[in-house]
Chain length 156, copies 2
């Protein structure tokens, strides 16, 4: 879910701004205005992958495990929003288990064609995020317009 | 909804394969294995935009209004899946109407930063579809691998 990515990014920026303090998941949840359970699930994934260090519980708290410049935005996107493996629900035509005879050649083939189209589009979408690190995001946070200026520069 | 795009694309390919016949929305719905009401809504949009000609009703039916090569895939994508104007539900932090004091500078600024990031990413995603026409899609339908080969070519 796209919100998971936002939560991860927001949490990392918060921890970066509060270095070298330990920050509890409760404090993060308050700052993000979200349910602590949801935050904890995402923090747990980030912790497992080495983005965060620290422990939960009494006197617990999280700190960043590396610099923002060492955190690729595309890696975070892939981690929190795994690639869709199947586009089946977006594709028309009979299902593979549908034994009905007389399907048109289009219905028989469109699933593969649309899956390829969506898959390549999704890979290129993810490539966009992979161009950046969390340091770029922090840059835009402090000086809005970084991402828009970069897009304008690429198009000119 | 992404399914709307698939329905539009599938319907156009079906009409192309059945030139110069008129095809009823009922026949299309059967071939796409979908609810006729859903098909009709999308056919109505395509008709209004000139992709289809024809009439609904007794002796009615649709035909294509132009060649597949004159139908840009990105235009069809934008028509059936309009750009998301607001990413609000994917963004963390307090809402603008939230008067609570003491928000962190991150919470106050992240909405704009993430909206820019998602907006540019979405525009580049749509650019991918704009490279192709419906003739390319028909090409892949008859010779699977067109989109994958093109991606491999661009990366090499």
């Amino acid at each position: 879910m796209k919100l998971d990515f936002s939560v991860a990014v927001h949490s990392i920026l918060y921890l970066d701004a509060h270095r070298p303090n330990k920050v509890s998941s409760r404090e993060l949840a308050q700052s993000l205005n979200l349910n602590p359970v949801m935050i904890r699930n995402i923090l747990s994934v980030l912790h497992k992958q080495g983005y965060l260090i620290g422990t939960v519980g009494k006197n617990g708290g999280y700190q960043l495990g590396k610099d923002l410049a060492a955190m690729n935005l595309g890696d975070l996107y892939d981690l929190t929003i795994p690639p869709t493996l199947s586009y089946a629900r977006f594709i028309t035509g009979p299902s593979k288990t549908d034994e009905q005879a007389g399907h048109s050649p289009i219905a028989a083939n469109i699933s593969e064609t649309l899956t390829d189209l969506f898959t390549v589009a999704d890979r290129q979408y993810r490539d966009y995020y992979h161009q950046f690190t969390m340091a770029d995001l922090r840059e835009d946070l402090h000086h809005h317009g970084y991402f828009l200026a970069r897009e304008a520069h690429l198009e000119s």
